[in-house]
Symmetry: C2
Subunit: 365 residues, 2 copies
């Protein structure tokens, strides 16, 4: 559905003064974050370079020119910076614009169905402007849901949470679901989706504030701050005391948290490996050592299943059909943490692994 520009403008951050292309304009000043160097541990600005160039605004057939408004930063980006094969055979190419999901507005259109001012989703990466073929765009309707939800609950993180839980976790009413990284973009949704399945849900997160939020706002039955535990045994004892045992473990973090959960699985437990963020800043290249625990899979005839959001792109409509009404009805909490400024992108990405954000982390252009 197309949106009247007036409506769209109402949620454009006031700091924006979009450059409106005219027949006379042929170039536009574009900023880009170029991925320059593989990080071996934490990401810093030395791994990226901010460049400015002139973008020829001439449009080919079925192209639009868009101005990015919101950038997604996601943990998978750090996986793509591993030196070893990961979800793709090759790492993110050096000396190219950092890839990533963007919500932007159409500045000029040469494509049917897209008009100036339209809000769109595009995988156009860390650049302030981009020319994108219409086949790489998704039109957004601000009247249906805030446009930023295309990067969160109604986008990749929501798809990951929904299909990871329903296809791999398969929770039943009364079962115990444990979610690690429960305050994050995916985890906070998994927690709520699991509650809607009738499960009893334990969220694990770092810090008391996040844990209070999991319980008080998201409705977790239990929340545990892993940071107050200095060993998997100690954390495991707390999880056992709360839950008695684990039927579904939705894992976003790996490491010590997972070490604590695996010995507590119940018969035929399902472990969903959605992320291993504790390992991303180095551990993918040189694996960290941890206890060997696969024997528990045998005892409990349990399953570990890895999943990626990309496998469910073609099933997005199934998720939207169910979750979008919940979003419109205000029945799902989809908190966003918005960092202001294109210049903050590398720091924001790094903060996924160190920071205190809740829900979906976005950078506003």
């Amino acid at each position: 559905m197309q949106v009247a520009l007036r409506d769209a403008k109402s949620i454009v951050p006031s700091s924006h003064s979009p450059i409106v292309p005219t027949a006379a304009m042929t170039t536009l000043s574009q900023q880009q974050w170029i991925y320059r160097q593989q990080p071996l541990a934490q990401i810093t600005t030395e791994h990226y370079e901010l460049v400015e160039r002139q973008l020829d605004t001439g449009l080919g057939a079925d192209e639009v020119l868009l101005a990015a408004r919101y950038f997604s930063v996601d943990p998978y980006m750090r996986i793509g910076q591993s030196g070893k094969p990961t979800y793709d055979a090759e790492p993110h190419p050096l000396n190219t614009v950092q890839q990533g999901g963007v919500v932007g507005q159409v500045l000029a259109s040469n494509a049917a169905g897209y008009a100036e001012g339209d809000w769109v989703y595009s995988y156009s990466g860390w650049q302030t402007h981009a020319k994108v073929h219409a086949s790489g765009l998704k039109l957004l309707d601000p009247a249906q849901a805030p446009v930023t939800t295309a990067l969160g609950v109604l986008g990749m993180p929501g798809r990951t949470a929904w299909f990871g839980l329903t296809e791999s976790g398969r929770p039943h009413a009364g079962e115990v679901v444990v979610v690690s990284g429960a305050a994050g973009a995916v985890g906070s949704l998994v927690l709520q989706f699991a509650k809607r399945h009738g499960a009893r849900v334990l969220g694990i997160a770092g810090g008391r504030a996040k844990c209070d939020w999991l319980r008080d706002t998201l409705g977790a039955d239990w929340a545990i701050d892993y940071k107050v535990h200095d060993s998997a045994d100690s954390l495991g004892a707390a999880i056992r005391a709360a839950t008695g045992g684990v039927d579904v473990y939705f894992d976003n973090v790996g490491g010590m948290v997972t070490d604590a959960v695996i010995p507590l699985i119940n018969r035929r437990a399902r472990i969903v490996i959605c992320g291993q963020i504790s390992q991303y800043s180095g551990g993918l290249d040189t694996p960290e050592l941890g206890p060997r625990l696969l024997h528990h899979m045998l005892y409990q005839r349990a399953t570990i299943q890895g999943m990626l959001a990309r496998d469910y792109v073609h099933r997005m409509d199934e998720m939207v059909r169910i979750v979008a009404p919940w979003v419109r009805a205000g029945q799902i909490v989809f908190e966003e943490t918005v960092v202001d400024g294109f210049a903050q992108l590398p720091a924001a990405l790094n903060s996924l692994f160190t920071g205190e954000h809740r829900g979906k982390l976005l950078v506003k252009a």
Copy 2:
């Protein structure tokens, strides 16, 4: 089917002089291996005590008196000696007869359908004689297959191999199946079953002789001696050079071999955790450290599934319907290594983890 005593006798080892009960006999000298002490590493005779007692031969309703002829020693026995909960909540009880599968002959019967001389399977454990209720017996037909197959290819190991491969591994023609512990009771069957599914099969075993046997006798496409590799990287390079990548990994051993395979899995690979024998002599109580590799599950959207033979007891007929004709036609290699003498039982059990046997390890009474 019942067996004429004459037929049965023809495969009774000549060293046996079964005690034939008479109306006058009321007791019988019985030897038992009592499990006395939890081993923390390797099993030695100090963990067991050989005792001799008089067994009252009087039989209750539906009971038979059997003389054990062959004892099974299986890796799972060592799991039951862990101090922590494993497949059962409690470890094998101390100061009781070591549990285990037995093939024996009926000495006296008070149960319909069982006659003196009949061959039976029973879970009567490490004792030379036992009184067993008919509900705990399975009548064997020596005309159909050697009676020892009830402890191997047509018993628990065969069931484990068949259902572990078909239900969890689910190999397709042309896929690469890797089997660890490939010269063992389960692994040697998995290897052959996978070949029959049209897969290309790599067997991993310790020592050149075993590897030659995997290739030359069992029909493995490739065999790798893990003992010539001093690291998972080195072993992994050899596996990659042979196979290019792994679709199904049937794991009996865990440890370094599994560390080598996991980074080589293909998209949607299935890893079957059937055993982790490299960890049984201590690692179940105090986990060994190994590299964290669960991120590979994510990249490849792969599955790790633990399985136990007990889950398929009720489906034994499905396996026998298919595999027994192969056994009768001589189309399955089911090599047995037979250790002579009841006194050898603890040493034989320990040799599962250190020894050079091929196929199914049995102890002859």
